[in-house]
């Protein structure tokens, strides 16, 4: 393909130098939990824009539904009832989904060339046509986001509406959010907006209000304004200090080129097997490779 609307900055399992002649602004989505009412308009917008329809499920005893992310639900609301001495009861509501890490563990872990893409604007996107369904992105993600579809055994997650952003529109969830809890713009602008919001929350008595843009993954392109930034885990287990698992870092940094050869061999050698049995066989081989390398490190 010739130059696309969005430049590719990183591509899974690829050593070719990405283009960088064009100048791209880094984008970010800012989710202000202090304005979020958990109405799920973002869930519906996501479903409708992306042509996704989950099952009509069941009530699991909470307001959350669908109860978890799936290949059809790329974002879900999470509700936590938290009691503290200082503030009494709080109902902490958080929109969960891909954080679009600057240093994406999924992409690092992915052995399939071009299945995971990071655009120059920061959006991390899955290209399912290249996905082999190995599930490594799931292991690589510190936020437990990607989901493997039972239908086609490929990994799915929020695209940050890369198709909309590419043509100058905001993500669908941002457009519909009724309370202005979700904003979208350059990462710089979003950080500035976050500062304003944090100051307002501090004035209101939330001393530990702050921005969630965790350094352990190089910062994220989906950020949260939290009333309790000192305790992200209060928000239904948002990681306090997310990092990429050592296995994945190692895989990317040192072992991956070796294993790539292994994949190539396996892919060529077992082409017929791959077609008949499906892709997960490959992942086992890759996994064995990594484990071997890790053993060797020790």
């Amino acid at each position: 393909m010739a130059l696309q609307s969005l430049d590719i900055a990183k591509r899974s399992a690829t050593t070719t130098e990405p283009p960088h002649a064009r100048k791209t602004i880094e984008v970010a989505k800012l989710i202000d939990v202090s304005k979020c009412i958990g109405c799920k308009a973002c869930q519906v917008a996501c479903m409708q824009w992306n042509d996704l329809r989950d099952e009509v499920g069941s009530c699991g005893g909470t307001y959350a539904n669908p109860t978890d992310m799936t290949d059809q639900s790329w974002t879900v609301m999470r509700y936590a009832e938290v009691e503290s001495e200082e503030r009494g009861l709080e109902w902490l509501i958080r929109k969960d989904g891909c954080m679009h890490c600057e240093d994406p563990g999924c992409l690092k872990a992915c052995p399939a060339p071009g299945a995971i893409i990071k655009y120059a604007n920061g959006i991390v996107d899955f290209h399912q046509e290249n996905c082999i369904g190995c599930g490594y992105c799931v292991t690589g993600c510190p936020f437990n986001v990607p989901r493997i579809s039972k239908k086609d055994s490929k990994a799915y997650k929020c695209t940050l509406c890369s198709d909309r952003v590419a043509v100058g529109l905001e993500p669908a969830c941002v457009k519909v959010c009724p309370t202005g809890s979700i904003s979208f713009g350059s990462k710089e602008d979003m950080k500035e907006l976050a500062e304003e919001r944090v100051a307002e929350l501090q004035e209101r008595g939330f001393k530990n209000a702050g921005l969630y843009d965790p350094a352990g993954v190089g910062g994220t392109h989906v950020m949260y304004v939290l009333n309790h930034a000192d305790k992200p885990s209060l928000y239904s287990g948002l990681p306090n200090d997310p990092t990429i698992a050592p296995t994945v870092s190692l895989w990317k940094g040192f072992t991956k080129p070796l294993a790539m050869a292994g994949i190539a061999a396996a892919a060529l050698g077992g082409l017929f097997h791959y077609v008949m049995k499906g892709p997960n066989e490959v992942s086992k081989e890759v996994e064995a490779e990594v484990e071997k390398e890790l053993e060797a490190e020790k």
Partner: protein, 811 residues
């Protein structure tokens, strides 16, 4: 709303009580988040449950369902005793100095004049003392024990913080925190808004709850002001339009009223509704009633409405009583109705006591359903197992289902809670055989008219003479109807200052209801809408959001009734001398050089009446001022009093423990048989309340896949303490029963519902979302109104959906 959605951003304090704006009005709630972010506004939520609104609140206080009068009465007492009232405001703008008849009294839970057998009051003593000059007597020194201020002080002095805690279960410290924050807006530079909804209206004392809130806002000087007001967030799209157009049984368009059966004299009918000013120099705007009424009759009956036949007064039905929904279903249940037309209406789900509603529908000969959806009502005769356990063989009602369009498939105006008439354009063609409601009704009307023409009838005139000027008679267009509501003149209108000049030619559309006449020369289908579609075009379609004063009044956006006015009573935003109470919040003020009222809004006042003239801001009241004392206008008394819900978890009114007849609203109408169907706390110990969820709209969106996905299955909410007592875990199926039936649903066990200590007893709440039924794509569920009691508010008859008793068991 006295104010409107955008205006919420101007508030310093926002009280959400009797509603859950974040849940039920998420789009409007953005103005709450805006006020918080830009205006440092503080949000207070008072509710039995810690709601989605409470999740964003600065202060939350729990309250037992149905006890809001005690809470607000407590606030009123707090304001008065702590001198936190806006004294300059109430002195000039309320009836506080008016003298009430000496025989008026309140004792043992009753006001004077109560007849226990009829459950009705003789309201003769609930009136002012009148002077020889024909005006109300007043005592500006406020010394007279019979002045409204002293009566009110005495009445509310009983609502101490301890009494609030005893009745509402709100911890005293919490109540005082709320009271203090609300009281902070009594200064001219701070304003509070109140957002309420059906959590206040759906009680046997609903109207009185809202009155208590209005009294509190008057005391704080928050009425008529940007960021203030008493704001009803309407529960259905365009339900504001329904009341504006007078679709309640006793109303005519524009809040005019039908005559009662004894009102056969036209002049007396008008005179009663066009009161003379009760104080010198006051406007009493309803004196124009005759102009609005005659113009309405001209719009309906054209040439057939003449001065000689009193503008077709005899064509109007004369009511023996109101025919509210409870009354209608009572009559149907008694077998006194043959047919019923349910248009955009799903009574099997929407009315209380499903068993009674289903039995009533079974007695009809025919039922016509006009709806875009296949409603439960249209299949009330069909067996859906436990959800609708009926025997179709025993039901003889013929049901006609006429598919109609939904709002997105038609052009027209929708009126929002803020009284804005906003025109919209159809987004899609209707599917299949669906027709617009006007087309369906025109079809029925034209055939009826043919039958009357052919066969005659007892009194065919009102049908035969109805104006029907539409280009395509069987399909009146939204544009034609809108112009008809707006109104036109039949004769040239001359400039009152220069009668040689014609300012409007015969046949032209009118700009304002001030141009309506009672001589038959004008027509208007709804006087408050005049100005919505003028010779300049469709004002409702305007989309100019210019906001020169940065206060969100945007006079170029759509059209707000009346007269494009955005905030009602806005003369009260200025002090008696005509200067804004708060120079930072300029709304409407007196410009001495121009000799008129000016500002960012259309003045709600006689525009050239100088402050020295002494005209007061509440021009719709003959008093000219706002009323703390409601005179005879409310059925249960001129001051609000706490009465228990008809199904009370404590069985006694702590205000009147020795008078069992004053336990619940003594003036509420209860039909024979329904009193017996009320449950007692012994068998049904838990206080239940019903409500909506954000994910759904009423009984519609369970037909929509996206909504069904995000909230698929019926559930009820119970607190952790009750769940532990009953051995119920989150996700368990539970059976919730009242004295009228049961439902089964999944239990959501939550910290957000806490047990309350009320009158020495522990009261648990059970929260019951209402969206499910046996039609649609969401999981089938029970009709929530299987549980609710068949009794309504003492004035409006809005059913008491918000407070009743249930038991809960593991299913």
């Amino acid at each position: 709303m006295t104010n409107h959605w955008t205006d919420i951003k101007n508030a310093d304090v926002i009280l959400i009580m009797g509603g859950n704006a974040a849940e039920a009005h998420p789009c409007g709630f953005k103005w709450v988040t805006e006020a918080k972010a830009k205006n440092k506004a503080r949000l207070v939520v008072v509710d039995p449950r810690f709601t989605r609104s409470a999740a964003l609140a600065d202060l939350y206080a729990p309250i037992r369902t149905g006890t809001d009068i005690a809470f607000l009465g407590g606030v009123i007492n707090y304001l008065i005793t702590n001198d936190k009232v806006h004294m300059d405001y109430i002195k000039s703008y309320t009836d506080m100095s008016f003298l009430v008849k000496e025989e008026f009294a309140f004792a043992d839970g009753f006001f004077t004049g109560y007849d226990a057998d009829k459950r009705k009051y003789d309201k003769a003593s609930w009136e002012y003392q009148m002077g020889a000059d024909g005006y109300v007597r007043t005592d500006p020194s406020l010394q007279d024990p019979h002045c409204v201020w002293n009566l009110m002080k005495a009445h509310f002095s009983r609502y101490t913080p301890d009494v609030v805690e005893q009745i509402c279960g709100t911890p005293k410290a919490k109540f005082l925190q709320v009271a203090e924050l609300l009281a902070s807006t009594h200064t001219p530079d701070r304003v509070m808004t109140i957002l309420y909804a059906l959590g206040w209206t759906q009680h046997s004392v609903g109207s009185q709850i809202i009155r208590t809130a209005a009294m509190m806002q008057l005391l704080l000087g928050n009425i008529g002001r940007a960021g203030g007001g008493v704001n009803a967030l309407r529960g259905h799209s365009n339900i504001q339009g329904l009341t504006d157009l007078g679709l309640l049984s006793n109303l005519l368009p524009g809040y005019m009223t039908l005559p009662g059966e004894k009102e056969t004299d036209y002049d007396q009918y008008i005179a009663k509704r066009a009161p003379k000013p009760m104080r010198p120099g006051q406007m009493s705007y309803w004196q124009n009633y005759g102009k609005f009424h005659v113009s309405l009759m001209k719009a309906w009956y054209g040439a057939a409405a003449t001065k000689d036949n009193n503008w077709a007064f005899d064509y109007l039905p004369k009511l023996d009583k109101t025919y509210d929904v409870l009354q209608v279903f009572e009559l149907m249940h008694q077998g006194k109705m043959n047919g019923y037309v349910a248009q955009g209406f799903n009574p099997l789900n929407s009315f209380p006591n499903k068993a009674k509603v289903g039995a009533a529908l079974s007695k009809l000969k025919f039922l016509v359903i006009i709806d875009p959806l296949a409603t439960e009502t249209s299949e009330f005769w069909q067996n859906y197992g436990e959800f609708n356990d009926v025997d179709p063989a025993r039901i003889q009602t013929t049901v006609f289902r006429l598919p109609s369009t939904c709002f997105a498939e038609e052009d027209g105006a929708i009126i929002n809670s803020g009284r804005w008439l906003q025109w919209h354009w159809k987004g899609a063609e209707p599917p299949g055989e669906a027709k617009g409601d006007p087309e369906i009704m025109a079809g029925i009307f034209l055939r009826l008219r043919e039958m009357y023409k052919k066969d005659g009838g007892a009194f065919p005139d009102p049908i035969l003479n109805l104006t029907w000027p539409y280009k395509v008679p069987h399909e009146p267009s939204s544009e034609e109807l809108a112009k008809e509501y707006n109104g036109k003149t039949f004769a040239d209108q001359l400039d009152p200052k220069d009668p040689t000049k014609v300012i409007r030619k015969a046949g032209e559309l009118l700009d304002s209801f001030a141009q309506l006449k009672d001589d038959g020369s004008t027509a208007s289908g709804c006087w408050i809408f005049t100005g919505a579609w003028t010779e300049k075009g469709n004002m409702m379609a305007r989309r100019d959001n210019a906001d020169p004063y940065q206060n969100g009044q945007t006079l170029g956006w759509a059209f707000a009734w009346p007269a494009n006015r955005r905030i009602l009573y806005n003369r009260a935003a200025a002090d008696p001398s005509g200067k804004p109470w708060d120079p930072k919040r300029k709304q409407v003020w007196w410009d001495g050089t121009q000799g008129k009222w000016v500002g960012s809004d259309v003045p709600d006042f006689k525009v050239d009446s100088a402050p020295e003239d002494g005209m007061s801001p509440f021009i719709m009241n003959p008093e000219g001022v706002a009323r703390f004392f409601a005179r005879g206008m409310m059925n249960e008394g001129p001051f609000p009093e706490h009465y228990e819900p008809f199904e009370t978890p404590i069985g006694v009114n702590p205000m009147h423990p020795n008078n069992p007849k004053a336990t619940s609203n003594p003036a509420a109408r209860v039909f024979k048989g329904d009193m017996e169907a009320f449950g007692k706390a012994k068998e049904f110990p838990y206080a239940a309340t019903t409500y909506r969820l954000t994910e759904h709209f009423h009984y519609w969106t369970k037909h929509v896949e996206s909504n069904a996905i995000i909230q698929p299955e019926q559930f009820v909410e119970i607190g952790e303490a009750l769940a532990a007592e009953k051995g119920i875990k989150a996700g368990d199926k539970v059976k919730v029963s009242s004295n009228r039936g049961y439902i089964k649903a999944v239990a959501v066990v939550t910290k957000r519902i806490q047990p309350l200590k009320v009158d020495g007893k522990t009261v648990h709440h059970v929260g019951i979302p209402l969206h499910w039924g046996f039609k649609g794509v969401a999981k089938n569920g029970f009709i929530t109104n299987t549980l609710t009691p068949f009794v309504g508010d003492g004035n409006t008859q809005t059913p008491e959906f918000k407070s009743f008793l249930v038991n809960v068991e593991k299913a």
